[in-house]
């Protein structure tokens, strides 16, 4: 029995509400030349107030040292062991375009590429074709028919697309055909088991037809496949936590992942205040809210610490509106670190605060990476947050007598 089973056994339904405010890629390391992180540089009076009244700490999405992708990092935040509940790249890609996956579907990421007359890859990104071109190609490939299987090909962006095979008994133990290098031919598919042999045969048929379809679309005249992954439904927030859960997110992948966990996706505009407006409009109808801020991550990925700092300040200004709704528990954190200094995700632990009338406050009065080191939560795996938040909302019964 792992702790998710124990939570499921002990949780009770109540009208208490939890808000998880997730700033993607929130944490950082000192910005070059300034000695402080983006979060430390930001003016954050309202986050600091929540930290002062609540209890704080640091969380690790996977374990110390491991840098997570957004999928595993979010699963951990939501209480699912990200190694056990390992989302494959193909599935994440399909979730990212809100494709309605069904259990057993095998999802694969497509990269359109250029090959020469011998089939040798000359450009792994097909000259970064436009998204318009990507849509045309996907539509043509989607028309390919394969025996005994439903095939879906959907555009993602530029040279990227997603493909889904739907039939009973398909395996996903298959290597990438992408050799990750130009000047090579795509890899042959080597199925790892019998069920995957069936997937390989269908995929090879698909590749044969795709080669003909794409011949006249140079530079995008072939495709590479990555991340074969079978979709399985994970236990939902309703099953595990007896929560009526809603997601307020502006980017497809996060909506797709939330939908996979049984959250309802609330409509929201594309500005930051729209997130809080959606929260306010729906506050009475759910007991759990996942509010996702994307731009802390994208500015971090761009190495733009000043923009990241501004996004944090804009989120800080919205905090009073969240607090005014009086949820029983507010959790503020991120899914992982994205230090502008590193221009990418990192393994650094994240600050977290839990605000509730049932916390035992600590001495921390600032919501920063360094201040939260001294927090009363100590350093925890991200997966501890859901049990803690449920406990603070008085939704977890006692274990044993």
């Amino acid at each position: 029995m792992d702790y998710l089973d124990l939570v499921k056994e002990l949780v009770r339904e109540s009208s208490s509400r939890l808000v998880f405010l997730v700033m993607d890629g929130l944490a950082g390391i000192p910005v070059t030349g300034r000695g402080k992180t983006e979060l430390e540089l930001a003016h954050r009076p309202h986050l600091d107030q929540l930290a002062a009244e609540g209890v704080t700490g640091l969380i690790d999405p996977i374990a110390p040292g491991f840098t997570p992708g957004s999928g595993p990092a979010h699963l951990a935040l939501f209480g699912y062991d990200p190694v056990k509940y390992n989302i494959g790249r193909g599935v994440l890609e399909a979730l990212g375009i809100d494709f309605p996956l069904e259990p057993g579907d095998v999802a694969i990421r497509i990269n359109f590429c250029t090959v020469d007359e011998k089939g040798v890859i000359t450009d792994r990104r097909a000259g970064r074709i436009s998204t318009e071109k990507c849509k045309t190609l996907a539509a043509e490939l989607d028309r390919i028919e394969l025996p005994g299987v439903k095939l879906f090909v959907r555009p993602v962006k530029e040279h990227r697309a997603a493909m889904v095979l739907r039939a009973p008994g398909l395996g996903s133990a298959l290597n990438d055909t992408d050799p990750q290098l130009e000047g090579k031919k795509p890899h042959e598919l080597k199925p790892g088991d019998k069920a995957s042999k069936k997937t390989a045969d269908l995929t090879n048929r698909f590749l044969g037809q795709a080669r003909s379809v794409m011949a006249q679309h140079h530079p995008a005249n072939f495709l590479l496949l990555r991340g074969f992954a079978a979709f399985q439904r994970y236990p939902s927030f309703a099953e595990l936590y007896k929560l009526k859960a809603a997601a307020i997110a502006q980017y497809p992948m996060y909506k797709g992942l939330a939908r996979m966990l049984g959250m309802e996706i609330l409509p929201a505009g594309d500005k930051l205040p729209d997130l809080v407006e959606a929260l306010e409009a729906n506050f009475k109808n759910y007991t759990f809210f996942y509010v996702h801020v994307k731009k802390t991550d994208s500015s971090g990925e761009d190495g733009d610490w000043a923009r990241k700092m501004e996004v944090i300040e804009q989120v800080d200004a919205l905090v009073p509106r969240i607090a005014a709704l009086k949820p029983e528990v507010i959790v503020v954190t991120g899914d992982h670190s994205t230090p502008a200094a590193l221009k990418g995700h990192s393994w650094h632990p994240l600050p977290v605060l839990i605000w509730s009338s049932t916390v035992r406050p600590d001495e921390v009065t600032q919501f920063t990476e360094r201040a939260c080191v001294a927090g009363g939560l100590g350093r925890l795996p991200s997966t501890s947050l859901m049990p803690l938040a449920l406990a603070h909302a008085l939704k977890l019964e006692k274990f044993g007598a």
Copy 2:
């Protein structure tokens, strides 16, 4: 291999002595309107001195967010994974009256109740009958004879009693007959496996005879069953830790649990100083002492922070007598939190101190929840305490070369 196996492999016997001073329900959250916990409000010069000289930290009985019952919380303190070594309610009830359980016994909690002529429950507690009446009823029910099984019925308190079935091959996968509601009939027993079918058949025979026996005892004219649980002997302190262990406790459940782990139960009066007197009288004869203070928990359950504070102060005054015995290791902590503000057990982590000449002291000089956040032990599961205490007593050999 879990850490208990590793401890067992590495431990060596020695004359060094360990004292575990366990204040039940020790920790809290701020008392309403005072901004401090019961422990923070208490005058505790001697506990603070131990904290200053020792090393401190926070412990979680199960894992962050989980509120434990007293049984699991104590098992964790004693090094046993409380989820793996899950004590059922019936067993805990039988331990609570010091009933000498044998491996394979199925123990069940009885609640005497009132039913009407149709068998519908009209009072789940039979008007809270006296403990005297409870004894009479238990004695009559204890005389019921069942084929091929030994039946024991023992009084607990007021409307509560305990029942034990002893025969080979009895299962315990059985639901409660208590529907938890008045106006309903008791539930039928639905065995979850074949061995439990046998238990169900015997229990149904018992219930039939009990109905006749109890008919003239209105309002206690029937009984409800809860928490069917098979007793299994856990590895003892002698086997696991090579310790000669003694328990000094004033409440039956704690004595029963300690006896189950192979501790000897030392006689003690019912005042707080009697605990230390028993320790002093027996100090030469054992290498491990579990000293249990109950009233920190019961005052917390009553929401009486002032009384809880006083109990802590009374315990503090006894600390010099414990230190004067010069045990190699003193551990002070609780089994779980019982904040007066919540009037019940909670999930908040507990402060712990380890005092020994072998500790590496930290900067903490106060034995409080908030001060111990900065302790050198950090935040640990309660199950880490036994290995740590053994190590500080120099009883654990090196692992590997």
